[in-house]
């Protein structure tokens, strides 16, 4: 009798170790299976007049806003489109799956730091093949989309980071938005009261934490090629000071940027480092009065250098020359002046053609600080290319070590570099 229980559970459970232990491979298996069944899928993906498109704008309002731009371009180029959207975190896995099954879409959207990695696989075709004009675009975004001297994609708009502040809380203390690190520390300390912290930022142990650290690091003259310089350590010291003095929560090491925004909107942070993609959410709360400025610099006179965010549209190698040419035209269209302004205005992002900046700020004054920030912004992969993920891992590891008191900022970067 006793054995019945155990015998019943055995067949189901004993296989679990294999299943879950080989997690990585299970995720790949379906890819391999599709590879067998779907060979030559690219050609079968529709008639010659239809372009397939893959992007990660799967949430409203972005889904519709980008969809409108895509529809305009479909009319322009004279093609039909078949669009697929996937969640942001699934995009690369989807692209890898499609690469191995040769079913890449005709037009592919990629987050800009991923472009070089995918271009390096040979999966993308350079835009010069189709005579696409890439002049007039901000250097930062072209750097991100370039691999071995060739431009592989264009971004209609980009974003970056800035300092948001709660106007009511600052006004109550008579504080003006800080422009230097010292002012930032003083302001954050003064604004910390009760449940409210002076400043919120994301120092999470993912690339997101590294991205939030970059404005401080780059502005201070730090460089990802050598993370053991004093300039980099100083930037980390600023975060350590803010957390240790209690002006920022110790929880910053677990906060994503969405968490940071939640804290700010709940009135639990008087200021935050975040990007303009939060503006729709912030504006939806009519009780919240907020403003934004550029990220403070270490010493007055330094130029704030923030990282460039945003998505790039590329032309994957599908083997169908005719369609690839049409796809290139399509990519060119998405980044046309008209589309840049429309998308920038609707999505609170910044046009990538520098000539459009003035016209844009006149239309959307609240984006002034971010537009200025973008002009000097750097791309994450511009210098290190495919090596960037390793540097980014070292950065967030060091941040975590320093903010948890495991090491001083200098030591933290040395330890992180040791892997």
């Amino acid at each position: 009798m006793r054995s019945t229980t155990t015998r019943d559970t055995r067949p189901r459970i004993i296989r679990r170790p294999h299943v879950l232990g080989s997690l990585a491979i299970l995720a790949i298996t379906p890819f391999a299976l599709t590879a067998c069944s779907g060979g030559g899928g690219a050609a079968a993906g529709g008639d010659a007049g239809t372009l397939t498109i893959l992007d990660y704008y799967n949430n409203e309002p972005d889904k519709t806003l980008v969809g409108d731009a895509l529809d305009r371009c479909a009319d322009d180029v004279g093609v039909k489109i078949k669009r697929e959207t996937v969640p942001g975190k699934d995009l690369i896995q989807k692209v890898l799956q499609q690469s191995s099954s040769k079913t890449l879409p005709d037009v592919l959207m990629l987050d800009n730091p991923d472009v070089q990695e995918i271009a390096a696989t040979g999966g993308l075709s350079p835009l010069s093949d189709y005579g696409v004009d890439t002049s007039g675009f901000a250097k930062g975004i072209l750097d991100a989309a370039s691999y071995e001297g060739e431009v592989y994609g264009l971004a209609p708009t980009v974003n970056t980071l800035g300092l948001f502040y709660n106007e009511d809380l600052l006004a109550a203390k008579g504080i003006t938005p800080p422009t230097t690190w010292d002012e930032l520390k003083t302001a954050a300390a003064a604004l910390t009261e009760g449940d409210t912290y002076g400043l919120a930022f994301s120092s999470i142990a993912t690339y997101e934490g590294s991205w939030q650290f970059l404005p401080f690091m780059w502005t201070n003259g730090g460089d990802e090629a050598d993370l053991t310089t004093p300039a980099v350590a100083e930037a980390l010291q600023l975060q350590v000071d803010l957390v240790n003095s209690g002006s920022a929560s110790k929880s910053v090491i677990n906060w994503s940027q969405a968490d940071v925004n939640d804290q700010f909107m709940a009135g639990k942070a008087a200021m935050m480092i975040n990007g303009p993609w939060q503006i729709p959410a912030l504006s939806a709360d009519t009780n919240l009065k907020y403003g934004s400025v550029q990220v403070p610099v270490n010493k007055a006179g330094q130029t704030p250098v923030a990282p460039l965010g945003g998505e790039v549209w590329t032309v994957p190698v599908t083997g169908d020359k005719d369609k690839q040419a049409k796809a290139a035209k399509f990519v060119e269209c998405i980044s046309s002046d008209e589309n840049q302004l429309a998308l920038a205005e609707a999505r609170f992002t910044v046009p990538t053609k520098t000539a459009l900046a003035e016209q844009y700020v006149a239309k959307v004054p609240e984006m002034a600080a971010f537009t200025e920030q973008v002009a000097n912004a750097r791309s994450r992969t511009g210098e290190l290319g495919e090596e960037w993920p390793e540097a980014a891992t070292e950065i967030y590891t060091a941040i975590q070590l320093a903010l948890t008191g495991q090491a001083t900022p200098e030591e933290a970067f040395k330890q992180a570099a040791a892997g």
Partner: protein, 332 residues
Amino acid sequence: MSSGIAGASLQDRKTDQRSSGTDGGAPTKRTPAGAGRRSRRFRREDLIKLGFVLPAALYIVLFFGYPVVKNVTMSFQEYTTKTFFTGEAPWVGFANYVTVFSSQLFTPALLNTALFTAGSIAGQFVIGLALAVFFKRRFPLSSFLRAMLLLPWLLPLIVSSATWRSILDQDSGVLNAALGSIGLSGVPWLTSPSVALFAVVLVNIWIGIPFNVTILYGGLQDIPDELYEAGALDGATGWKAFRHITWPNLRPVVSVVLVLGVVYTIKVLDIILGLTNGGPANATQTLAVRSYQESFVNFEFGVGAAFSNILIVISLLFAIVYLRVNRRAVDE
């Protein structure tokens, strides 16, 4: 000592001997029979038998054999994003394993895996057993409460971990607020490297309790009441009854629960990703988390496969223990 108790433990000892005897004898008996059947020509009956075996065999080869073999070969290859497009995965021998073993995170991850597994199992089992014994008695609402105990099992893990993350939040979490109201200072549950692993273990214990209660409760139901009656007559009640009747009779079930618990716990990924993502400062890195991050964050599938192979080998050891323990239980 009472006859009932002596009888129970005697029965146990006999079982041990008997089972070890069967172990040795079985193969020698089976082999000649199999050889004889093979020498005969195929009959309709054999084909039908084959028809029953084939789907299961195919399933196992396709969904267990292939992934495991592929995972092993992958761990000897430089398998990166490029591989997906070009199909080329250069053979690199043991390079991925060298990367794994020389990584600064390997030893901490291995240690954390051990601590996480041991801590979780100990907590789950002790609390689970206590609850199972408690619910053996009938009292008003007992079956309702027992059903409610399964709740953690019913929640998607991603929901549990998100909820616990907010409960354990240092500034605005419910737990620290409760501690504060009784005059204790808040604990940096998920923000201090020295506490985070403990916090993650706590959450995993909460998740694992239903499994332990369910299996152990089932085991308790199978212990005949006569043993307790006989024991009570001889003065064995309460703790003595547990020590001399419940525990010896429950032992086969206990070993199964523990071994399955290890195999379940050692590969836990979602809870850790949801709570800390391996942080703060790598304090909650385990082999499973390393495997996931190497494969799906760094896209170093070869290194990720090497990590998961190490995990598979460890799980396999426990699976073998489980099989031996289980065979004994079945023989009984």
